[in-house]
Symmetry: C2
Subunit: 185 residues, 2 copies
Amino acid sequence: MQAAEIDEQFPVVDIDSPALEAARMLAEHSLPGIVVVTADGQLYAVLPASQVVRFIVPSYVQDDPVLAGVLAESTADRAAEKLGGKTVRELLPQHRLTLPAANADDTIIEVAAMMGRLRCPLIAVMKQGKLHGVITASRLLAMALKCGLTEQAWTAVVAGFTTEWGAVSAWQFLEQSSDQTRSRA
Amino acid sequence: MQAAEIDEQFPVVDIDSPALEAARMLAEHSLPGIVVVTADGQLYAVLPASQVVRFIVPSYVQDDPVLAGVLAESTADRAAEKLGGKTVRELLPQHRLTLPAANADDTIIEVAAMMGRLRCPLIAVMKQGKLHGVITASRLLAMALKCGLTEQAWTAVVAGFTTEWGAVSAWQFLEQSSDQTRSRA
């Protein structure tokens, strides 16, 4: 399986669109993150939902997290109002993060290794310089388990034979047959 | 709003349960992560989905990510088989990570600041030493927007008045009335 075979279409936000729109998209569809693109459709950033949450944290609290504890509850509740009028661009981290982007022909393990290393719940898949799709952590696990489980299902079938047939199991039988076939060939 | 008012019930996995079960839970329900508890129900870890994905990455690849690129596609596809028989405990990072746990009376901003800082898509909410619930990034955004949007909706209503009533807007009128009320008091 290659990255381009398992990726999915995913909503993207323009870097100059309202930050509120990005936050609402994540909230309504319970997305694990968003893909930010430039006006000409180029991949600019992939933001995990945990980083979009920072949009509602006032910058002085981001600089000094202890301050979060001294904000009155009513002030904290109204923090999201500050999103109004701001664009996604204004809320992106100043230092651009490593782009979690895989190539179309990367394997499932290459994507998993990148996801784990960058702690990003979604990876953009690029094909010929363009965004082809997105692979989320749950999609990756589902595809990996699909392969793994096919194998496991087969093991379970064989185990069933073993129990029913006693000492000379179907598995051994098949293995022996296969050896015999091989030696005959 | 306090953390315990907006948290949700969430499936948890026992530290000694099969790793495959944790991976399947995430894959089937598209969860952003899982809460790992000990046999006596104590919170042990919160694993983002991006870290559970590492369960399928062979340890020699985790140690040297470049190796991911040299694995054959068929080997990569069958990596999930290795999960079979392993427990969650065996796959947790050796160095225990900072526990993303909030207090029941923490504000929405305290939770958001912690989520952003730890890059964790879900925060466990503790009440009297016990797990009370979980707040995901999308839940947090939804609740923050709900407050923000109520205010915005009100602003929109006022803006509507302004447009309809021309130069002396309803907003100015209400503000003046309120001032008059205050000065009378």
